[in-house]
Symmetry: D2
Subunit: 437 residues, 4 copies
């Protein structure tokens, strides 16, 4: 097997004083923080689509990036080489997981049968590479948005034949995810939404989306796949409006159709901000509803209105993300998948390493910062004091439904005005900054 990244050796931890951009300064896989190794906290994953298949095309320009593994006599040979390059990259970077869409790893054939056959062949290769390297599959998924047949949606398509095609494709994707020992499977409804309400039957489309997921749950059980199902919120793009707008919209949908025990959320930072939420909000909302499954780690540009999928180097984002994860006991089946792409101008293979190293080091710093906040305890103490009234006998009576409006009116009439106590936001922010290192 030839090397596709010959200039880069295995990335090492060299500590904060290193000036080597091809080394970790903070991420030390085996170092324990709050009793768990960094590697186990993060369960870092590299995504196949951006990192190996993304070549810099944008709506105003063609590909800018050429990869050595794409030089091949046939698409299938290129697919094999790409898989080898991917595992070389995973290994040199030192991540434990990867993620893919079916059509990322194997070319679509001229028929569904041929596509499935292509997939089987590459999956066998990937299985061998997994076995050789010990790298595991975080989750698989199916690409139900790139082919023209899905232009008006997959399970929400006005044409049931497209629903059938999508079902066939997800069936196969579930099988190969199972075959590769995937820890999960993601549903991202890229085109499950609408361009204009004028031509859309929203009610029927939502019913079909639910029907599709119920079928997927049934088939998962039938084949004995134990991986976790995730739904991934995104408000728009490519559609004008996507049904899985944000975590709350996904929760409403799942509750409405009795699917809330079958899926958790895969929260993506950039999708959160496109929906008008902070990344932290979507994580916390998911955590408190016991729906936080996995994370697509990236960042958007707050000044831009599309999914820029930049690498997650903002230390505030990584610190708050890890704080939520630590408070929620961390990942069970999920992990931090770098659903991020190098910029179109970053056409050098080394840029892939700089980007992932930057992201991993930023999360390592975020974890250390979050652990510092927890150990320091000042923020938790302030929050505890802020809500202390709810732990009183009076507060508990309300929480437990022992009293109603009549008793509360009586209480209010008797006790007069409540004290109006500072929320101390600036102090909390100062304490957060103290933790940022």
């Amino acid at each position: 097997m030839s090397a596709y990244f010959p200039d880069v050796n295995k990335i090492k931890f060299e500590g904060p004083d290193s000036s080597n951009p091809l080394a970790f300064k903070h991420y030390d896989a085996k170092k324990k923080i709050l009793g768990k190794t960094m590697a186990d906290h993060f369960r870092f994953s590299v995504c196949y689509w951006h990192t190996f298949k993304g070549l810099g095309r944008d709506p105003f320009g063609v590909e800018t990036i050429a990869r050595a593994y794409d030089h091949a006599p046939s698409p299938m040979k290129a697919a094999e080489q790409t898989m080898e390059a991917a595992f070389e990259f995973f290994t040199k970077l030192g991540v434990d997981f990867w993620c893919f869409h079916d059509r990322d790893i194997a070319p679509e054939g001229s028929t569904l049968r041929e596509s499935n056959s292509n997939l089987d062949q590459i999956v066998a290769h990937a299985k061998q590479l997994q076995s050789d390297t010990g790298i595991k599959l975080l989750w698989g998924t199916a690409c139900l948005f790139a082919h023209p047949r899905y232009m008006s949606g997959a399970s929400t398509n006005p044409n049931p034949e497209v629903f059938a095609h999508a079902a066939a494709q997800v069936k196969k994707a579930l099988e190969v995810t199972h075959e590769l020992g995937g820890a999960g499977y993601v549903f991202w409804g890229g085109r499950e939404g609408y361009e204009t309400l004028l031509n859309t039957n929203m009610e029927r489309e939502l019913d079909h989306l639910a029907q599709f997921l119920h079928m997927a749950v049934d088939y998962k059980n039938e084949i004995g796949f134990k991986g976790q199902f995730y739904i991934e919120p995104k408000p728009c793009e490519p559609t004008k409006h996507q049904y899985d707008f944000d975590a709350a919209a996904c929760l409403a949908f799942l509750l409405n159709y009795g699917l809330e025990n079958d899926l958790k959320f895969n929260i993506e930072a950039n999708h959160a901000t496109l929906a008008g939420h902070t990344f932290h909000h979507e994580l916390e909302f998911s955590r408190v509803h016991d729906m936080l499954g996995s994370v697509d780690a990236n960042r958007g540009d707050p000044m831009l209105g599309w999914d820029t999928d930049q690498f997650p180097l903002d230390l505030y984002d990584t610190t708050l993300c890890m704080l939520t994860l630590l408070r929620g006991d961390g990942f069970k089946t999920g992990g931090l998948n770098f659903d991020a792409k190098v910029r179109r101008q970053s056409n050098d293979p080394n840029d892939l390493f700089y980007a992932h190293i930057g992201g991993m080091d930023s999360f390592a710093r975020g974890l250390k910062n979050a652990a510092k906040i927890i150990r320091d305890g000042r923020i938790d103490k302030l929050v505890g004091e802020r809500y202390a009234g709810w732990d009183s006998a009076f507060g508990k009576k309300i929480e437990n439904g022992k009293i109603g409006f009549r008793e509360l009116e009586q209480y209010a009439l008797e006790h007069g005005e409540p004290a109006i106590v500072s929320g101390q936001q600036e102090l909390y922010e100062l304490l957060l900054n103290d933790a940022i290192e």
Copy 2:
């Protein structure tokens, strides 16, 4: 009773050729459209807060508007005069409904008891005016956001004493709404959210919000109030992030806490757009989930990021709103409440009339346009054809859960690629424009 709008007589319908800005050109209350009078389609309501209590203050400047009814020897006398001015306005404008917050109509006293007493006195006056004029209450509500005690939320306040005060206030507001024969009651969680997650226990706050609503439902039943409860989505402002972000977030919340049968939505146009949705989206989402209760009719400025509450004069908005209402069989208990305010520079009493006339005429045009679309039938026919496959035997089998992934894969393997049919968005848009008059 003296006249506060002496320069304006009862606004009449003069037809489209009138150039009188103090006349209706399109709204003709008794004219029937699709079998129902315009008045019954719209159930127009004027809001008390903006129209009578809004005086042009903004974050960078003080009040610009002086109203004759505010010249009074005491706050209670001013409140009485304001109520008289309001009914004079309702009558001259020719609307059938009004809406209010408790603190709009009667001044807050130095104690809860005094506030309640003030409220009782003004409510008695309002009841008489209702009786005199035949004007009815669309819904009442309580102001749980203006007083400093609510700065950190009402039912979601970290201090249960504030919860108690809010409960007392809503209890009273329910009583007076009942007393005035209100057709509904609205919950808008103006400060039920957070400024920073750092100092917030989201889980506990959501539980308290639900507990509060359950208590309200209990009390409603106890006193025999038959009006409809509504929850009103808004993403932010005044809070950084409000729990009732949009219709989907409200649905998730209601389903999660078993409240989905007790409340419907009061959809506001400007709140929809602040949440990244079109007004039409929030209406349709509510309709297909059988949650569309009432509408706060206004519009925002798509270039501005705050609630501008402008009058609803966009004919696309009014046409699509009425199209959704016609398709959903219209209002049961709700109506079109003008939660809109004249601009700060519109400091003349006549501006209130121009604004409401503009809004009512715009909805009248919207209704005629929507009825034209329905009678014309071309859009419905196109949509029907677009989803026709789902009415086939094959489509029905999927909808009814008679087949699963195995059968669908078999179908896809056998049938090959589905046809890829135009969504014809530009044709739909052309047909919509044909209906705009």
Copy 3:
């Protein structure tokens, strides 16, 4: 010459009662409004890139649209057929103008020389078709953003060799625009901006951009091209931040480098809204600075943060655009170019006709509405009264710089508080709605 749109005949004006979506209901080319034919008011142009070269690709999916003229044994033959299809379309639609980028009409060769030769060949063909049909070129331009060499900018590239290549390409594009009798030439700096300030020398890049435009002006004069130069503002996309952010940024740039007499603006509706302005604002700003040259007629989606380039069917937009044009004496060299694309799902050739007809009819209605506003005169009268004080002797003294702060202080001390007069926004909006038909 075979027909590429065999199902469509020349689009006719059938009047408002027609229900034929392949007819004009409002656009009647020869009908005079305020003394000028509709055709002369609008100078409608069809763009080559979206209409003939746009095939539905988006960032999440491949092409969905297949065109008959792309079936050809060679790229050059396809280019010829496309040009024939284009003129068939222009003719059937009944527009007088077209627009193109160099690389739209002829394929890029493996060398600059070959690209130029390809271009010459197709331009000769286009010239013949122009002669045959009477259709004229509104403006030409060069594509300086699609090829990888331009990934970091064209004239603002960190590499002067790319500047040279861009210069060569614009030189040629100017020549062929001149050859085709173009009424203008547009500079759109698609990648003249930055992705991150960290790697950018903004000062030097701005200097290079100005140097480039000065060279273009020199060359224009050298070859005797009399067409108008335009600069086209856009805030971002594809770049994170474009130097030509909006009309004001372009004006600052031109003034700063002494180019303000050499270029006017080509204002695009969707670019305006992406920059946080209304379309109307950018038009008015340009008009009052005597910089309004031409218009790219489309619309964006106010809920989406990217350039959706939808067809301009909003009657408020078209009315206000035409109002500005009528007040500014209309187009001299420019026109209304449909820089708009059918949606990705609109994969039928007829969709191109529906879209353009919808746009042309919307502008026809906008023109009639704007003329109605002007003839009605009520808005102009109100504005005149609003500023009447400035026409007084006192106002004139200020405007003419006859008095300063000392005299004005004296005036203010003597005269006391000015009257505070309503801005009457709601009345203006009501009058605007009265004009919308």
Copy 4:
């Protein structure tokens, strides 16, 4: 003089290990960085309006904050006490500068004459306090937006009498700024814009704005005031659209009216982001145009569409701001003015200290980070290499205008495709993160 902040002593530098929230951990006024003390780098200023006059009112609620200095028998006495509290605060915090609007420090009287007299009295008091403490005035300004007379603009008002009143007010504000030895004077055109273009004569309003500034320059020269004039960009709020939208719009305006040598920019972080720019962009744009005068240090919330004026605690913002300042040789007359307010819920006097300490420490860290970047030199080296071609003979010929399109075409034909070199954004971002401490 009684103490208004009795619980707080002078804030000391205690170093990074201190856990005292009422101490500096990074800001050490006399510590030298790159040859200049921190105090001289920053020239920190506290603003009067938010810090002493802001009491927590927002559009949905009344004041939440009570200050001891407001308890007074008369407005003038309260104004005196407030001034004393302010200088106590400045002194305890350890800043060298303050800023104010005329109406912040002295109450508006019932006539202009009385307002002026009130102002004189308080200014005398402030002058004494300046003398007592050594604290200096960074800049003064006039409030031309809060009073109803300015509801439709000050110098851009449709009524020239309002222009006169504004002139009188600015004349006086210039005089008192001069009296207090102010280093500058700021023009923020809070309502110099429009609510709707329908009622607006943009051309005339822009002319009046320019006329006003020319008068101000004349009067400044007449009285011998040597302070720097600044214009402060903001896109909107309170107006729908402000003429001083962003730095580029201000530059266009100044160039267009020949004012570019008379004013520089006062850049505010939150105004930048409301205009769709990063704070860093507006700073860099100003720097490269030699227009960077002073900075209003705060931050907005990227998810919210209004001016939140939060304290500047984002270390990326402070680092990049200081990097631009270091590259531009720092402040001459300007400084870092905390135009920031504590949250409405932060109703404790200590919150004012936490907020300012947080901001000052964040800038101290930003300065150290920026100095580290400069000393490290890797980013500068990469940028130098990126643009190296422009320092070649060929690059210089272009920059110096020695060659034109003909020569460049010849060059391009001869040299073929330029190399396409990575922009290395991820590497730059990694290096930036390395500098964040």
